[in-house]
Amino acid sequence: MTKVGVLALQGDFAEHLQALGKLKVETREVRLPRDLEGLGGLIIPGGESTSMARLMDIYELRGPLKERVREGMAVWGTCAGMILLARRLVEDRPEPLGLMDIEVRRNAFGRQVDSFEADLVIPALGDKPFHAVFIRAPVITQVGPQAQIMAALKDGRAVAARQGRMLGTAFHPELTEDLRFHRHFLKMVRSRAE
């Protein structure tokens, strides 16, 4: 049985745990390095990337988390989580983990009054559009050769990317009832599980 962790330092980790629960997956809240042991996958939720980065530093989670990803743990970041997965940010803070070959701009649409909902066509999830919720959301400004864009807005701005066993989305599938992204991630997790 594959266990999936959700980084529970700050943010909407409970919503991800609930979505995984609906898919009958065994889950674990991750707050300390020891919580990463034996996980097949990890979700870094939405929240405030500066708060999460701060708490990752205090409890020395960066090293062990990157090590586990190198060993094959699948990882998915939503919104703040995608910011943390990026190789580089347009802004100088916070310091990301540098795992995915993407450059990300924080708060790319403006402040909260500019937060929005939109339907996205995502070929990897099938024909039915995915209703996406963007909250003070980032965008992907550059994609390196190792990563592929999975979804873009009508104006062409990239809002989801995949690189091997890593996934980043600028929006929040955990806030909707549509579980296709969670299923997609679980497939990635299980593709490697013995």
């Binding site: 330092l9 708060s51 205090i58 909260q112 009054v113």
Partner: protein, 293 residues
């Protein structure tokens, strides 16, 4: 592309969960709060304990102060308007603040009506003392709720009272039969629809933070264990002897609220906490939580 929807208003509050929202009065304090790991800041003219001391009428902060704080940090910035003062709320929305707190800490502008919050694009957070009050505010469009506690006292007793009231009433409604809900809605002074939602979902339909009296990491963890989704800290940080340390400690206490070893560690050497007030010595007109209904 739809903006200002209920989903994105309530959704921002969901992103703040497990975090600490800190009161700040200057860009320098906002910077310290962000560095300490705050998930948002509340931009104010004065912290609640100073509002208490100053007396008179407390109003929305000067827009230039709010803007200076917005320019300094990248985390969400909230600001307070007076209860019922929908024009102050319009001004805050025009400034682009991320959340408006219709707050009893400021002097109420309307003793009968709260703001009709549904017609705003900016989301609102409101205080409550019990489930009925929480549901009345949600009915008016609040996308986030917090306990009122008794702001500016450094005394957790009222926040505990209010959180226990809300959580206890939620549990009670959850165990009621369908045919008992109309009478309960009447008793709570809330809509039947929202009361039914509580029964079926087993929790408030929006995020619920603790506020009003949090002064130490243990206070913050206490509120989390009582069921809060996160914590507002007002005077507790910048009225403490060592604000940076207290801020960082409270952030860690909210993340690790179920872990007493971490709580013990972060509670060490914080220096003098903010001076506290015994709520029982306050006169009726000095109580903030009784403002609004």
């Amino acid at each position: 592309m739809e903006k200002g929807t209920w989903q994105v208003k309530a959704g921002l509050a969901q992103m703040l969960k497990g975090g600490v929202i800190m009161d700040v009065v200057t860009p320098e304090q906002a910077k310290i709060a962000e560095e300490a790991g705050a998930c948002a800041v509340m931009a104010l003219e004065r912290v609640p304990s100073d509002i208490r001391q100053a007396g008179g009428v407390a109003r929305m902060a000067d827009p230039s102060r709010i803007l200076a704080i917005m320019e300094t940090v990248t985390i969400p910035v909230m600001a307070k308007c007076r209860i019922g003062h929908f024009v102050e709320a319009q001004v805050l929305e025009a400034l682009g603040v991320d959340y408006v707190d219709e707050s009893e800490v400021l002097t109420p502008a309307d003793e009968t009506h709260h703001i009709w919050k549904h017609e705003f694009k900016v989301p609102f957070v409101c205080g409550c003392r019990d489930l009925g009050e929480a549901l009345r505010r949600i009915g008016e469009g609040a996308a986030m709720i917090r306990t009122k506690g008794e702001a500016g006292t450094g005394n957790i007793v009222e926040a505990v009272r209010h959180m226990r009231a809300v959580m206890g009433e939620v549990r009670k409604v959850q165990n009621m039969n369908e045919d008992e809900l109309q009478a309960e809605a009447k008793a709570l002074g809330a809509s039947l629809e929202l009361v039914r939602d509580i029964k079926h979902v087993g929790r408030l339909p929006v995020v619920n933070f603790a506020a009003g009296g949090v002064a130490t990491p243990a206070d913050a963890a206490l509120m989390m264990q009582l069921g809060a989704d996160g914590v507002f800290v007002g005077s507790g940080i910048f009225k403490a002897a060592r604000p940076e340390r207290v801020g960082k400690a409270i952030v860690q206490a909210v993340t690790h609220f179920k872990n007493p070893e971490v709580l013990a560690e972060v509670s060490k050497d914080l220096g003098e906490a903010m001076p506290g007030l015994d709520v029982r010595t306050l006169k009726q007109e000095q109580l903030l939580a009784v403002r609004g209904w």
